[in-house]
Symmetry: C2
Amino acid sequence: MQLLNGSKVADKILNDVKNQVENLKKRGKEACLGIILVGNRKDSNSYVKMKKKRCQEVGIISCDIQLPEEVTEKELLENVERLNQDPCVHGILVQLPLPPHVSTERVISKISVKKDVDGFHPVNFGNLSLQRETEKTIFPCTPEGIIYLLDSYQIPIEGKDVVIIGKSNIVGLPMALMMMHNGATVTVCHSLTKDLKQKTSRGDILIVACGQPEMITSEYVKEGAVVIDVGINSVEDKTKKSGYRIVGDVNFKFVQEKCSYLTPVPGGVGPMTIAMLLLHTVKLASLS
Amino acid sequence: MQLLNGSKVADKILNDVKNQVENLKKRGKEACLGIILVGNRKDSNSYVKMKKKRCQEVGIISCDIQLPEEVTEKELLENVERLNQDPCVHGILVQLPLPPHVSTERVISKISVKKDVDGFHPVNFGNLSLQRETEKTIFPCTPEGIIYLLDSYQIPIEGKDVVIIGKSNIVGLPMALMMMHNGATVTVCHSLTKDLKQKTSRGDILIVACGQPEMITSEYVKEGAVVIDVGINSVEDKTKKSGYRIVGDVNFKFVQEKCSYLTPVPGGVGPMTIAMLLLHTVKLASLS
């Protein structure tokens, strides 16, 4: 089994982003990512912290708005609109999940397509579905990062059987579309899928985004498969100083014996997602 | 095996459309579908003829622009724009396929989202992908008609294994999205798929849109499956006065023995597609 080292591939991309940011600066433009963070979730806080850290490393300005858990949808929408109107901000990221009393759909839809750094705007999503990539199109970060990672290791997609667990708008669904467009035969599984093990163990490439810590054991995996673990879960671990450790949706220990390639957690899909985010920010800045 | 009688279900819908058209007339609005037909393909001619006939039956005005095979892309785009600007036209249909010297994508993208009766505009497609159905959203006619037909026969979709052959933007891809949104486990097969028979014969519901006359024989079909035949092919038949007959992508004779439900060709998916088209026209007229 060979590890798919997302951190290493992401570093190369970030280096490229850094150069692009410097070139923009020479033209008098400072790439800036606006981040909206609602509430005080531990996971969201740490994701945002990581994104800001990476921004700083490549010279992208990050400007973050922190709003209380109790923020009204109206206030949240006003803050999105404020960033829409701000000519210094080139990309807008609303950290998900949002508290249940606000409509994620309405908030995400409010982000201008010109600043849709996450690729969730219906126009971007429509162009992704219809395979109409223009220089302006932004694809969702996580699935785009996964395709990039596979390409980096020259793992072919065309003609392969790809099984995806999870059909969210953020990962599973756009991943399915991209894999189809790359010539794979795609099966999308989810909570209503019957005989899940049987289906997943047919995948030459298995992409796991089910949000269940270490759920995928070797019985779910085809011998020699490429396994991509999108999960990031914190589980209790009293041996750690923090009291917890981060695990994926795949049981690394069991699955590593059976597959040909595997992404570690952390250090696999996560860094690729952030690299795509920063690549998009600098793209939107250069288009603005 | 029970036939899924698309003609019968479509008739009920057309009756409803007729009432809606009459109600619009009372409010002084005459629903109108603009049709652009390029060249002189036999199949396109007969589809357009059928669509116009149905329009007439329900009281929708159809206005068609016939352009020669040699029309330039510029002229074609100007004609789309003319219909975009015409306040009397509520829906615009460009009959596909277009000749190879024009870009289908550019022509289709030119149609105003407000008149996108076929549901191919990126905004409509994005909303379909993201499962954001608003009162304005238009879904592609053929897959929407198929869902409608299954619902009419109370055939459940949730939790079922659905296999789709074909991944076009018109049928396969939007069908996959709709089936996923309805809770099915979806596999999309196409020309690069390996072991096709093995995959299709796992489908509780098999949707065939491969454009190969009578390709799907009983070996491709699971015992007791629901089989939806989207194909419309004309094959030579010297016993017919016309010299040809219409067949689907499914070999009806062999498959009917094995499946639980089957759509005939003609009289299955075709009439449902047209019914959805007219339903969309009257919807866009009432929204205008």
